[in-house]
Subunit: 250 residues, 2 copies
DNA sequence: CTACGTCAAGAGCACTGCTCACATTTGTTG
DNA sequence: CAACAAATGTGAGCAGTGCTCTTGACGTAG
């Protein structure tokens, strides 16, 4: 049983340091192969070749192919989450619409720059691979948490058009939403919470269509403008003021 | 010398009939393997085994693995398109909201019943496989055509809230939309057309999240109700009357 | 110095896509 | 009917994959 399963312990022996370095190299090489060849074509043997080692040696560091996929999954989720947090955090806290736009733009930008890794996160599941929830739910929920934080802050600030949802939330759905609300620590009402979930899936639907080429080869010559328009409409769906940020005086 | 060299003729010779039958068997077996093991794990050798023939024999009927994937892609697109057309056609032409809801429900129902084939259509692209546009764009655009037909009919009938789009459509996007409008033979204005595209991607975004398990294992205990709520909101995004269908007298 | 644990190497198994030479079946034609 | 040619099936083979196992080399702890 290897000790120090806890994160970020100072590697005492030089052996452990070399081992940690090798694992990081494997992740780096795997990330490159993933970006080039796609998720389902990720090959441990190819990684071993690039590492300059025989194929079976990588099994000393990574249990199997699934393990490497999980490492890359967490790695990609965190990179996306970092990009989103940085983009959102660059705007003032009260600029809810701007922060929402920044979140969506950051997701799209990262997805377009890393299509294969995006596909690993949000595409069809890799056959035979089931992501271990205990290791991926944390990094995997960073974007929706950031989105809900924006919407909740806007709601608390009274900057959300709360009244206009005529769509009733039936009891079983309300029960789900109540559970999610407490988990998020949010205070938005049911209608807005459900709309937030819709905006979330819609954002990734639009990004996925673009990244996966579902639009067709030459359907949209102006994808940036299309996405900006979609973001504006989605902001309205979430009840955000489509107009620009007005710093609250006082 | 009998000419009889035209396409899609009744297969005259029994040999051609047997050949067509074998190809259909291959597609059927491939569909089953696809549904069970996923797209990237589709194996020609396994299909050959199930067909009761040696592995190399299937290459007499199917050029390679890509060819079989293309056949299965078209097959799935058409099955989805048939399901959507049937669901939409079951409602009166003037029930625009009902038809929209039927379209969305049909897409979701088919996706949930055929998750692997849905993943082939709308998930991450299979590594190294590029769908031939000349064979897949036709079947692949049936859903968006059906959706736009509903929206266009509603617009022509004056049953769409056209005025309320404050989001400007910038010129490069307007050029794209103009091209798409003529290709569809539609007459909806730019704002509604762009919103239709957003509704389209949002629909598949919501379905993909559910099919691909992006929501998390036990986040929503009432996914039907969540989707129904999403559809209602999306109908509003498309400018459709959220209220029920009122048959026009006459 | 010895013993233990870690590591790399290589062979091997079962699987994949695909190609080729060869054998067999089948339909047509002289 | 016999002969021919096209279509079809066969099996070997190549290169690649994930993964396991045994063997030997090495560094470090006691």
């Amino acid at each position: 049983m290897p000790p120090a399963e806890s994160a970020a312990r100072k590697p005492s022996t030089p052996r452990e340091r070399a081992r940690a370095r090798t694992i990081e190299d494997i992740i780096r090489l795997g990330r490159e192969h993933l970006a080039v060849h796609g998720a389902a074509a990720l090959s441990l043997r190819a990684v071993a070749r690039d590492l300059g080692v025989v194929s079976s040696a990588v099994y000393r560091y990574v249990e199997n192919r699934e393990e490497l996929l999980t490492l890359l999954l967490v790695d990609a989720y965190n990179e996306l989450g970092d990009a989103v947090d940085a983009a959102v955090g660059a705007l003032p806290e009260q600029d809810f619409t701007g922060r929402f736009r920044a979140l969506g733009t950051a997701v799209r930008r990262w997805a377009l720059s890393e299509p294969a890794r995006y596909g690993l996160l949000f595409g069809s599941p890799v056959p035979g691979y089931q992501a271990p929830a205990e290791r991926t739910t944390g990094p995997g929920t960073r974007v929706i948490h950031a989105l809900m934080a924006i919407l909740d802050a806007a709601y608390r600030a009274g900057r959300v058009a709360a009244g206009g949802d005529p769509n009733a939330v039936v009891p079983p759905l309300a029960a789900d939403l109540e559970r999610i609300r407490t988990e998020l620590g949010a205070s938005v009402p049911d209608g807005l919470l459900a709309r937030g979930a819709l905006v979330w899936t819609s954002l990734f639907g639009a990004v996925s269509f673009e990244v996966f080429g579902q639009y067709g080869a030459d359907t949209f010559a102006a994808p940036d403008e299309l996405f900006a328009h979609h973001l504006a409409v989605l902001a309205g769906v979430a009840g955000l003021d489509p107009a620009n940020y007005q710093p609250s005086n006082g």
